[in-house]
């Protein structure tokens, strides 16, 4: 264990690194990483550093000083803009799983569809680690057995604040794509899905074909509204356009009470079940009541 002393200030610094155009953390203050699996990833790093280096690491991550982030199987390469002109090179190496280990993990993952289902829905399955325990390995690396960090900066402490900055940003990446953790451990999304698929397919019914890369349809751009300027519509300046004769919007209760809320499900940020959704559900009901009362005339208390 390195000594918990911060000798960083010993070095004369020409200037503080300023914000750069690198990757900026989305979180502007407080913790970085939203999901529990990002928390879990970051938790492996935090005991290794003093609070000063950690907080500077977060600050680097927010200022965009991490210039790039290349995630490959077993290794993350990155450049971080420090106080010197040349960016420092940071390398985080994570032990990949052996083929035998992966095979066991994938067996376990294929055993329950919920793992793949949740992953594909953009979420890390809550009990994903149980699948790794089957192979006596862990999804999230710990220092002792499988995490090695390296930085070209002069700080003798390792990990240093530059490593921390990269580490935090990785946490945010994992938020968005839980498959990345698997990638780091040696299997990318396509490989993982293909192997899962093969485990599920008992017999070869369909022809395997070469497929193009997995495509995600881009959301249509919400274009700026185009409309006629007032000068162009002087001849119908006051007129109601056609087509409203058939306009109707029934004022009725929904088929399912608080249906939108039910479709949304429990939010991740709700800690006690119902502490947010229950009052909101009550609000939905109250609003329907009030809208119907208003539509049907307020003197009438009986709303059907």
């Amino acid at each position: 264990m390195p000594r918990r002393h911060d000798y960083d200030d010993w070095y004369p610094r020409p200037s503080k690194p300023r914000a750069a155009d690198g990757i900026k953390a989305r979180s502007k203050r407080g913790k970085i990483g939203e999901s529990w699996w990002a928390d879990k990833w970051i938790a492996a790093l935090e005991p290794l550093l003093d609070s000063g280096r950690l907080s500077r690491g977060r600050s680097y991550a927010r200022k965009g000083l991490v210039l790039d982030l290349d995630i490959g199987p077993g290794v993350v390469m990155s450049r971080v803009q420090g106080s010197r002109a040349r960016p420092y090179k940071v390398k985080i190496a994570v032990k990949t799983l052996t083929a035998a280990e992966w095979s066991k993990v994938i067996d376990a993952l294929a055993g329950e569809a919920i793992f793949a289902a949740r992953l594909l829905a953009g979420e890390m399955p809550p009990d994903v680690e149980t699948a790794f325990w089957a192979a006596h390995v862990s999804l999230f690396p710990t220092r002792s057995d499988d995490l090695h960090t390296d930085c070209s900066c002069p700080d003798y402490a390792n990990p240093c604040k530059h490593v921390a900055a990269v580490y935090y940003l990785l946490g945010e990446r994992f938020d968005q794509d839980p498959f990345l953790i698997f990638h780091l451990r040696g299997k990318d999304k396509d490989q993982l899905l293909a192997e899962l698929r093969q485990r599920r397919a008992a017999e070869d019914l369909a022809l395997a074909e070469d497929s193009p890369a997995y495509e995600v349809a881009a959301a249509p751009e919400s274009s700026a509204e185009s409309f006629e300027p007032l000068e162009a519509v002087l001849h119908r300046f006051w007129d109601l356009g056609d087509g409203l004769d058939a306009f109707s919007a029934p004022v009725v209760r929904p088929a399912v009470e608080a249906g939108l809320l039910k479709r949304l499900g429990k939010p991740h940020f709700e800690r006690k079940p119902g502490e947010i959704t229950d009052p909101l559900a009550a609000a939905y009901r109250a609003v329907s009541d009030a809208a119907l009362r208003l539509a049907l005339g307020e003197d009438d208390t009986q709303v059907t």
């Binding site: 979180s27 502007k28 407080g30 294929a110 329950e112 569809a113 793949a116 992953l119 594909l120 979420e123 293909a194 899962l196 599920r200 397919a201 008992a202 017999e203 369909a206 497929s211 997995y214 509204e225 409309f227 007032l230 300046f237 006051w238 109601l240 356009g241 056609d242 409203l244 306009f247 919007a249 029934p250 004022v251 009725v252 209760r253 929904p254 399912v256 939108l260 039910k262 479709r263 499900g265 939010p267 991740h268 940020f269 800690r271 009052p279 909101l280 009550a282 609000a283 939905y284 109250a286 609003v287 009541d289 009030a290 809208a291 119907l292 208003l294 049907l296 005339g297 009438d300 009986q302």
Partner: protein, 1064 residues
């Protein structure tokens, strides 16, 4: 029309305008609804010296005091606003609703004006807009601009979104400019992910009047909003304000700001202040999480296939509640062929990234299925459960879960973009096989009743029996109890699945126990209500079926096919003339309802001959065969004063055998004399006003029929007149109207209540059950039920019906007889007396001139006293019950135009007199709240072309007044399908030429030509001469009025003197 009258008219009619005013800063204010008004445009102000102010005040905008009245208790905040308006020669143009004459010269361009407005807070704006009537007027004096009408639609949609709970909680940055760091606010935003709502947004945005975008705050320099953006700004702000305001009472508990950011957000969603206090970073983080949470509502959109769920019931019902006997199968469904389904089993067996099935290729089938299941598992726990298997093919459900799935989950899954296949017996709109009561009605008498309204309403002649039913199956109590013991919401009865809602079981058992109390006897009217589908619920139980047999079943059958399968009676022998085929059907229908003692509303389009049909009916009812020996009681026809003469003449024409008595005018019979005379006649014609004034006399007579012409006169149920008329003792009742009565619910109730008292329930019940749900909430179910209840009693044929068109000539000419008012009659007699005295003592050219002047004066009197007096007096006079017409002819024209406009028809109105044209324009504009065109000799050519183009365009004004001389030739006005000749011309060729403006090449519809004639006057004489001596017409009267001047004074007196029956 004089300038004074013009001024008075417009002063009384402010036009309300309004628009949403989005406010970009400060955001907490959000925006407001601005209401402003236009009033009379006075003469242009004289240009004063010096430099004009940068933005001039709008010269004819109303002030704020006037606005406060119309806000009806909603508090507004006065504010000056800027509005960009089309302007010319330094003046804003008036909106078309204001009906102002405009100068013709100068370019039109946009200029900015300042107006005084009232700003309404978002929630108040919604309340106010929702409270406005569905008409173009707030009151007879206050006209709602098209822009207000637009926002009424928007408000209706807004209420619909709120009632349907289409809104979501969000956390947004409130970037106030200059703030040191981002602050956050909680906001409720509308969710428009339902395709129907997206269509509504497009529909409304496309129809928004441009003036809605022309309003802004004086210091607002932001870019103008487009229609869609303005509309969404309205929805966002109003949704947020309303949810906050309306949800709050349920959440008084959150008093202090909690520590955790998500709880602060929750608190800020439910109180007036939207600000979420706390660290900006914590909140930015939370905002990201909230957005991610909300992103789940986005569906995958245009995928070629999707995950689909199919619920399959077990072969045998579950033994106990915990047994998972139901299967919820997983399938892939092709988006373009919903019947193409790939079972999960096949999907799991596919090893590649593609699956071929029935010649279709599915890309990434497993991943699609898994991703879909991952999403759906959040909605329904049994799905999540199933995912612990390696290759889940289905979820297994208990009966309760299956019921929850059908009732709720299926809808949510569908909304989220998944396919759902429910068992057939569930049906689209919920279960068809559900528990309810079934009614069996049986007539207790072998023969149908007779004896008119009373018999129908009160005699208890139908027995009712009730049974419980589950779908089509009748249940015994034993069966019900057995099923209830299962305590399962879905049960199998005699091999079929049915829904047994536990709450309903309880009602059903209770219902069974009290069944004796509800069984019993009904009147025919009550029975009809049930058979025609009014009854939806009974003691908390749905009514799932009503059946009848015998004559009762046949009656309902015939009623429901109103006129369709009914036997058509031959035209009564005593009817002189020929009924058209559809008229024969109409008269048979009246006679059919009469046989059952049911009141009938004949609502055929104007011009189709309701009067003739009714006269045929009267003859039929009084034919020797109809009444066994005894002479039937007299019929009472109540009509507007203006058509008394018309009724009399039509009866004389079609049914000369009927003895008609007119009860009208100052010298009418009173007391016992009246009663005796009435009993001695077949038909008594009187007016609405007299039905009230002479109520004592009329109530003493047992009328055979009471017939209301222009029955919309009793549209106000509370009016004394309506109440008196309802009390008139009558065996049979008929209402005639040409207005689309079925769309005006209060009028409908009032008329139905006269025809078949009690049938639609009390007015209060009707309001609650039908009027408000239909008009305010767009309740289609209530509308359907009301239609089913009333349709059998209303016969409405349109002149555009193909079956009617074939019975009608292309050009339908009708003479409409009008009755002079007392004022007109007095003036008329005075003119005749005066003039004849003078004519007697003069000769030669002087005599000729005198005769011509007399003819002119008499025609003026027939048209309108104000035209004759030329004193600028108003068209209508204040009477005890509101404004009263001074001219019977003008009154009649108003009634007829009301019907024509209600049908969306367009009309030409010809008059010989320019001053009458002006008077008509003013009065009609005020009466109908819309612009009326007037083309006369003084209209410049360019203006004429513009008027014709606007009238023909189909969107412009619907009424066009033309002077006979200026507009009688050359113009092409085929957009009109009604032509009114307000006064008669001696030469029919001139009239025909005018008529042909509408009836010429390009006219696709029948043209109705109405000639208005004052009964008993010179006009009728002229009309007789023209009609009877058509062949001679050109020879005798072709030269105009000249020949009259040669008549002897005695002949003249005979020709001119007002006949007895002309007026009162």
């Amino acid at each position: 029309m004089t300038a004074r009258a013009d001024q008075a008219m417009i002063d009384a009619m402010p036009i309300l305008h309004g628009a949403w005013l989005p406010s970009t800063y400060p955001p907490s204010l959000g925006g407001a609804f601005a209401v402003w008004s236009e009033v009379a445009p006075g003469p242009p102000a004289k240009k004063r010296g010096g430099r004009p102010p940068k933005v001039s005040p709008h010269p004819f905008a109303g002030d704020v005091d006037a606005l406060e009245q119309v806000l009806r208790g909603v508090a507004g905040k006065a504010a000056p606003l800027l509005v960009d308006l089309p302007s010319r020669s330094g003046r804003p143009l008036a909106s078309p609703m204001l009906l102002a004459e405009e100068a013709d010269d100068g370019e039109i361009s946009l200029a900015t004006w300042q107006v005084s407005a009232c700003l309404l807070a978002p929630e108040d704006a919604l309340r106010w807009l929702a409270s406005l009537p569905e008409r173009d007027r707030l009151s007879p004096q206050i006209v709602l601009g098209d822009d207000i009408r637009f926002w009424q639609h928007a408000a209706c949609w807004q209420l619909s979104l709120l009632a349907r709970q289409r809104f979501v909680p969000t956390l947004l940055p409130s970037d106030a400019p200059g703030a040191p760091q981002t602050t956050w606010r909680a906001a409720w935003q509308p969710s428009l992910d339902d395709p129907a709502d997206r269509a509504r947004l497009e529909q409304l945005a496309a129809a928004m009047p441009p003036v809605c975008r022309a309003l802004r705050l004086p210091d607002d320099a932001s870019k103008p909003h487009g229609p869609a953006r303005l509309l969404t700004s309205f929805l966002h702000t109003v949704t947020d304000a309303c949810v906050r305001g309306w949800a709050a009472p349920s959440l008084a508990m959150i008093a202090r700001a909690p520590v955790r950011p998500e709880l602060r957000w929750r608190r800020a969603l439910l109180r007036a202040d939207p600000a979420v206090p706390g660290s900006a970073n914590d909140l930015a983080l939370l905002a990201g999480q909230v957005n991610e949470w909300l992103a789940q509502l986005r569906s995958d959109g245009d995928a070629a296939f999707r995950l689909c769920f199919r619920l399959e019931p077990p072969e045998e019902p579950a033994v106990d509640r915990d047994e998972r006997a139901w299967q919820l199968r997983y399938l892939l469904q092709a988006a373009d062929d919903l019947s193409l389904l790939v079972p999960a089993e096949l999907v799991w067996r596919a090893r590649g990234q593609k699956l071929r099935y029935l010649d279709r290729r599915f890309d990434q089938p497993q991943e699609r299925m898994l991703a879909g299941l991952g999403k759906a598992s959040r909605l329904f726990a049994p799905i999540e459960e199933s995912l612990h298997a390696a290759r889940p093919e289905a979820a297994v459900l208990t009966t309760d879960e299956a019921y929850t799935f059908l009732r709720e989950t299926a809808l949510l899954l569908e909304e989220s973009g998944f396919g759902v296949l429910a068992p057939q017996w569930w049906g689209r709109r919920g279960a068809s096989n559900r528990l309810g009561a079934r009614l069996t009605l049986q007539a207790t008498q072998q023969k149908p009743p007779s004896g008119g309204v009373g018999g129908m309403s009160f005699a208890r002649i139908v027995s009712v029996d009730w049974s419980l039913a589950l779908g089509d199956e009748t249940l015994t109590l034993k069966e019900l109890e057995r099923l209830a013991r299962l305590k399962q919401p879905l049960v199998r009865i005699r091999g079929r699945w049915a829904v047994l809602d536990p709450e309903q079981v309880e009602s059903a058992i209770k219902f069974w126990e009290t069944r004796q109390a509800t069984a019993g006897e009904l009147s025919l009217q009550e029975a009809l209500r049930m058979l025609l589908g009014a009854q939806e619920q009974l003691a908390g139980l749905d009514v799932v079926g009503v059946s009848a047999d015998g004559w009762l079943a046949r009656l309902v059958d015939e009623l429901q096919t109103a006129g369709g399968q009914m036997a058509v009676l031959p035209q009564p022998a005593a009817f002189s003339g020929q009924l058209r085929p559809y008229q024969q059907r109409g008269f048979s229908w009246l006679a059919f309802l009469r046989r059952w003692g049911l009141g009938a509303c004949l609502a055929d389009d104007m011009g189709l001959g309701k009067t003739a049909e009714t006269i045929a009916y009267l003859l039929e009812a009084r034919s020797p065969g109809a009444s066994a020996g005894a002479r039937p009681n007299p019929a009472l026809v109540i009509c507007p004063t203006s058509v008394v003469g018309n009724w009399q003449r039509e009866i004389q024409r079609f049914a000369p055998s009927l003895r008609v008595m007119v009860h009208h005018g100052g010298d009418r019979r009173r007391g016992e004399e009246f009663a005796e005379a009435a009993r001695g006649h077949d038909v008594v014609i009187s007016t609405y006003a007299l039905a009230r004034r002479d109520a004592d006399m009329m109530l003493t007579i047992d009328w055979g029929d009471v017939i209301l012409d222009e029955a919309q006169n009793i549209k106000n149920p509370g009016a004394k007149q309506t109440q008196t008329i309802r009390k008139l003792p009558a065996e049979y009742r008929i209402a005639l109207t040409g207005t689309p009565v079925e769309n005006r619910l209060n009028e409908l109730w009032s008329i139905m209540h006269f025809l078949n008292p009690g049938y639609l329930g009390s007015q209060r019940d009707f309001q609650r059950q039908f009027a408000r749900p239909i008009e305010k909430a767009g309740d289609e179910d209530a509308a359907r039920r009301l239609r089913s209840l009333t349709q059998p009693f209303i016969l409405r044929r349109l002149k555009t019906d193909p079956t009617i068109i074939q019975d009608l000539p292309d050009k339908l000419e009708m003479t409409t007889y009008c009755t002079l008012t007392a004022e007109q009659a007095t003036l008329y007699q005075a003119v005749v007396k005066d003039s004849l005295q003078q004519v007697e003592v003069s000769e030669g050219i002087g005599r000729r001139g005198l005769v011509l002047a007399t003819l002119l004066k008499l025609k003026q009197v027939c048209n309108h006293p104000a035209q004759f007096l030329a004193d600028g007096s108003p068209a209508l006079l204040a009477g005890p019950d509101g404004p009263e017409h001074r001219s019977g002819k003008l009154a009649r024209l108003n009634e007829m135009l009301e019907e024509a406009l209600a049908e969306g028809d367009r009309a030409l109105i010809f008059t010989q007199f320019a001053e009458m044209g002006g008077l008509l324009k003013g009065q009609l504009q005020e009466a109908f709240g819309q612009e009326v065109l007037f083309l006369h000799g003084g209209t410049p050519l360019a203006r004429r072309d513009e008027m014709v183009a606007r009238f023909q365009s189909g969107r412009g004004p619907a009424l066009f007044i033309l002077s006979l001389k200026a507009g009688g030739t050359g113009l092409n006005l085929t957009a009109a399908n009604h032509v009114f000749h307000f006064d008669r011309w001696w030469n029919p060729a001139v009239e025909n030429q005018a008529t042909d403006r509408a009836f010429r090449i390009g006219q696709a519809r029948n043209v109705h030509v109405h000639k208005l004639v004052c009964a008993g006057t010179l006009e009728e004489t002229i009309d007789d001469l023209i009609e009877r001596k058509k062949a001679l017409a050109d020879a005798v009267v072709g030269a105009g009025e000249g020949w009259l001047t040669e008549l002897s004074t005695d002949d003249l007196r005979q020709l001119l003197t007002l006949r007895q029956d002309a007026a009162g």
